[in-house]
């Protein structure tokens, strides 16, 4: 029983320390408790327990402090210049998407606006793929998919292509953005707000695609408002993600 309680207390130590010395500490604890019982001193076992609780409290705290200092030292003081440039592109892309809600964009510049928005998304996705705290196959696939679809969407906008291909590309863009946002929600190292805005915003924005028949120019439905709100959220999401990748340090676990 005592050993089980002590094992539970060991969870107060950092995981790397526990894995390295946990079993040795349990054995030492058992030895010390055995000595206390053998001494037959009044309150011997209770005194040993009390001393060991104090030992755990002080040394677990010091190990955690040491580890935190170690992690802090392993971080770069500022993100690399490439991350700053790519993040800035993301901010510009998100801001450009939002401009249509603030000013009347001349029709001649609309294609450029959409392309800039796509380039911003590509830039942020590239910046995140370069980060060492974004390991794993799923973020890689989600990022690559978003980059591919965004690049194709930019080409469609600049080449002024419409019809079925544009419809399919629009759907693919919002779904890829929503998927990317959901994946980023569970990744470490970044604020969750940008990813949340991207995932929810894209899911709403997809309802605004004309061919789906959920919106109407003559008699607006609730999806007119929801899809517009979704696009605003996506714009804000890319601005937040851009600021995040440009300013936030990577969380790199030190080698034990």
């Amino acid at each position: 029983m005592s050993e089980r309680i002590y094992r539970a207390l060991l969870r107060l130590y950092p995981a790397d320390f526990r894995h390295r010395f946990g079993e040795d500490m349990v054995q030492l604890f058992s030895d010390k408790l055995r000595d206390a019982r053998a001494s037959r001193a009044p309150w011997g076992t209770a005194a040993a327990w009390l001393a060991m609780l104090g030992d755990v409290a002080t040394t677990a705290a010091s190990e955690r402090l040491r580890r935190n200092r170690h992690v802090a030292h392993s971080m770069p003081t500022t993100p690399p210049i490439e991350a700053r440039v790519l993040g800035l592109a993301g901010v510009v892309g998100g801001a450009v998407l939002l401009t249509a809600f603030v000013i009347d964009v001349p029709s001649g510049l609309n294609a450029l606006r959409i392309a800039l928005f796509n380039f911003g998304a590509i830039a942020v996705a590239i910046a995140l793929l370069r980060r060492r705290d974004q390991p794993g196959l799923i973020p890689l696939i989600a990022g690559a998919l978003l980059i591919g679809v965004s690049a194709w969407h930019a080409v469609m906008a600049l080449a002024n292509i419409h019809g079925d291909v544009l419809f399919a590309t629009d759907v693919a863009l919002w779904l890829a953005t929503a998927g990317f946002g959901v994946i980023q929600l569970v990744q470490p190292g970044l604020s969750r707000w940008g990813a949340l805005a991207l995932s929810v915003g894209s899911a709403l924005a997809v309802t605004g695609i004309d061919r789906l028949g959920l919106v109407s120019a003559t008699s607006p439905t609730i999806f007119n408002s929801l899809s517009q709100a979704g696009i605003v959220m996506v714009g804000i999401g890319w601005v937040v993600m851009g600021i995040d990748v440009a300013t936030r340090r990577e969380v790199v676990q030190p080698v034990a």
């Binding site: 040795d24 030492l28 010390k32 755990v56 040394t59």
Partner: protein
């Protein structure tokens, strides 16, 4: 390397020229300090972790006494750097004691 702490020095001296496991170190520290320092498992192994990371001690595969040996236990011994650090600390303390001896002992009498 940071200045060595009193606990770390106690552990280095407790290991001494031999190989010792955690329980042996704990008992030896209590003995050489006349019971003034009693380390718990956390105190022993956080110090061992620090000394291993600083290269002052290393794990030993040798078993000093096979009859008394417990295969589950890990033994530690001083490295060359560890011996040098102990020697320097002993010299520093020795100098300190020599400086204080002429007057401190008179005061005590």
């Amino acid at each position: 390397m940071e200045a060595i702490s009193q606990t770390a020095f106690h552990v280095l001296v407790a290991i001494g020229p031999e190989e010792r496991h955690g329980y042996g170190i704990m008992q030896e520290v209590a003995r050489i300090t006349n019971g003034a320092t009693r380390l718990g498992p956390g105190g022993v192994y956080t110090t061992i972790r620090r000394l291993l990371d600083d290269g002052l001690i290393e794990e030993s595969d040798e078993r000093p006494d096979r009859d008394l040996d417990d295969q589950r236990r890990r033994y530690y011994r001083l490295t060359g750097v560890g011996r040098t650090v102990v020697a320097k600390e002993v010299a520093r303390l020795d100098s300190l004691v020599e400086s204080a001896r002429p007057w401190a002992m008179e005061s005590a009498e």
